[in-house]
Amino acid sequence: MKVLQINKKDWAEGLEKAKTAYRLFGPVTDKKTNFSEFKELIDGTAPDMEASDTRLSPKAIAFPPSEVILEYTTDEAKDDANLMNIPEKDYSPRAVVGIRPYDAAAFLILKKNFDTPEYRDPYWCDAYEACTFIGLAVTKPDALDFSTSTKSGPFDESGLDVLLVDDGDNYLAKVISDKGAAFLDAAGVNGAADDSAFSRVEELKKAAEEDIKSTVSFDNIGKQSILDLYESDMWEDIAFACINCGTCTYVCPTCWCFDIQDETSGQAGQRLKCWDSCMYPLFTVHTTGHNPRDTKVHRVRQRFMHKLKYFLDKYEDGIMCVGCGRCIRHCPVNIDIRKVCDKMNNN
């Protein structure tokens, strides 16, 4: 695998060059609040490569908070009255720059949902396939990062096309795929690194992994039956503080629940795919008023059972969590998935 060296001073210029072939997305920090978000980099904005983490995950790049999936007119005078049409979309190449390894691993988890043998969501899949992921290794993990316990880690390469490692004045770039190589060529930053680069990356990786003190384990969760965990009496205590606000699901890079809504203005209408949350009381309510998950305990249990048990059993490929820590950081009542995982593991 090639390791390239990119002088940080050349990076901004390289990104401008890459813009001729790619739409660029990267973390942008708001000076007033100090929060960063993934935004499209327009008007010469450079990605903030020093940002510690983005508040919302970059899942919005393939799975926006709301998206038009079909268009229609209810005007009976038109030929296509009441027929649904697929709207024009822009799936030209996109580069997601500065994405953390756990967020890239999260895309692979989302892919399991949106790209199945029987059905393929074209909106998510086409957007995802248009992306080249230029990752940025986490050299200084924070206290809430437990990615080494999931199938990710601070220097993990799954789902990435390039892994950039901050090495002082330079970035060392591990070129993981052809897509990644193509991007770096387009940016004109393809100078090879010296022979010691590979081992320097390994050193930094080891140091970062050792810095991660927060861990979870779920080997016992797999061994228990669904009903054993479901019927446990631990849920009332776990769920008490929850206010069903949905923040956890919105900041989580692996949460994918959505709603389909029609909105018409005059006679022109759109069918939309919007973020939804299993935390909301009306998520599962039937038209008759019957609600299979009508208590807070049901809903909180559903979220953690889905992430840590149903997904684990269904795909046999780890838990539906990449250890980014955003839900812990942003939960207004400090419900901690690590604590819940621990309780489920020791049920």
Partner: protein, 315 residues
């Protein structure tokens, strides 16, 4: 404030043991600095897990809706005012509650603290008037009064308005502060400035409804944003829909809001939702001389009709 927890634990244990309550609602220690987790205790032996410090900003009255048990609830000034509103609105019976009142000099705003500190906060040690914040290899001592939640800095109801047990002696109320200074600032802007101010304020909103869910007043079984026959509000991040949600929610809370700050605490995007509710609090105060939740004997003005109501249309 630091010593309060001993009294709180003692009261809680007594109430559980003598059966006056089935459960105590309070806080237990959080897993991240500057956060605590609301919890309930049913076993007197568990009262040792209860904590009380300057990170108890969440309004526990939010957890009373629909409860059938006898509840002991640990409540600061603003929380007790919401409890009064809950009782008036028949959300819970006075007889069900044993209010463990806690006088409060204000809760710390963790976002304010984070903005004054370089790097990730790893530990916080609290003393009577200050917090020692550790991050990386450095530490900084901050005066609590400098990093209070905004609503706490203008609070004039620090002491519980109803209570059955007091966890400490009453504290002095703040005097001589302009409670509505932030509102006046916006009121004095010209139209374009005001429009821009509100547009910028709501731009980050992701319609997660955390503000609504954290608010003790928002307990409608089906919120107006979730109605579909007819559908009042769309589901996307369309600015008109977002503004409709925030304006209407503020109006639904008018005359009932106690400025507890739970909405701002809950918002993941750090939006100052209080910009709307504080304005309505000012309006209700100026129009009706009303402050929410101070007395069990009076109903809020938007709930009642008086012959001397100022509006022309009722005359």
């Amino acid at each position: 404030m630091l010593g309060y927890i001993d009294k709180i634990q003692e009261i809680s244990e007594r109430l559980l043991k003598d059966g006056s309550v089935d459960m105590i609602i309070g806080f237990r220690k959080g897993t991240v600095p500057l956060m605590n987790e609301p919890c309930f205790i049913k076993d007197p032996a568990d009262v040792k897990t209860l904590v009380w410090d300057s990170n108890c900003g969440i309004n526990l009255a939010n957890y009373l809706t629909g409860r059938k048990e006898k509840v002991g609830i640990i409540a600061k000034g603003c929380d007790t005012r919401n409890i009064v509103t809950h009782i008036i609105e028949k959300n819970i019976d006075r007889d069900q509650l044993t209010v463990i009142g806690v006088p409060c000099k204000g809760m710390v705003d963790r976002h304010k603290v984070a903005s004054l500190v370089d790097g990730e906060i790893t530990d916080v040690v609290e003393s009577e008037d200050a917090i020692l914040v550790k991050s990386g290899n450095s530490q900084i001592e901050l005066k609590k009064s400098d990093v209070l939640q905004q609503n706490c800095s203008v609070c004039v109801h620090r002491n519980p308005v109803i209570c059955d047990e007091m966890a400490a002696d009453a504290v002095d109320e703040q005097t001589g502060i302009d409670r509505f200074a932030e509102v006046s600032k916006v009121e004095s802007m010209d139209t374009d400035e005001k429009w821009q101010y509100f547009e910028d304020l709501l731009a980050p909103c992701i319609r997660c409804y955390a503000c609504r869910n954290a608010c003790p007043l928002c307990y409608c079984p089906t919120c107006f944003v979730d109605e579909n026959r007819p559908q009042w509000v769309g589901k996307t991040l369309d600015p008109t829909d977002t503004r409709t949600f925030h304006f209407l929610r503020a109006y639904h809370c008018a005359g009932r809001c106690t400025d507890c700050g739970a909405c701002v605490r809950a918002c993941p995007m750090n939006i100052d939702v209080r910009a709307f509710t504080k304005k309505l609090e000012k309006d209700v105060f100026e129009l009706y001389g009303w402050e929410a939740g101070l007395s069990l004997d009076e109903r809020p003005p938007l709930d009642t009709f008086k012959p001397d109501d100022p509006e022309e249309f009722v005359k």
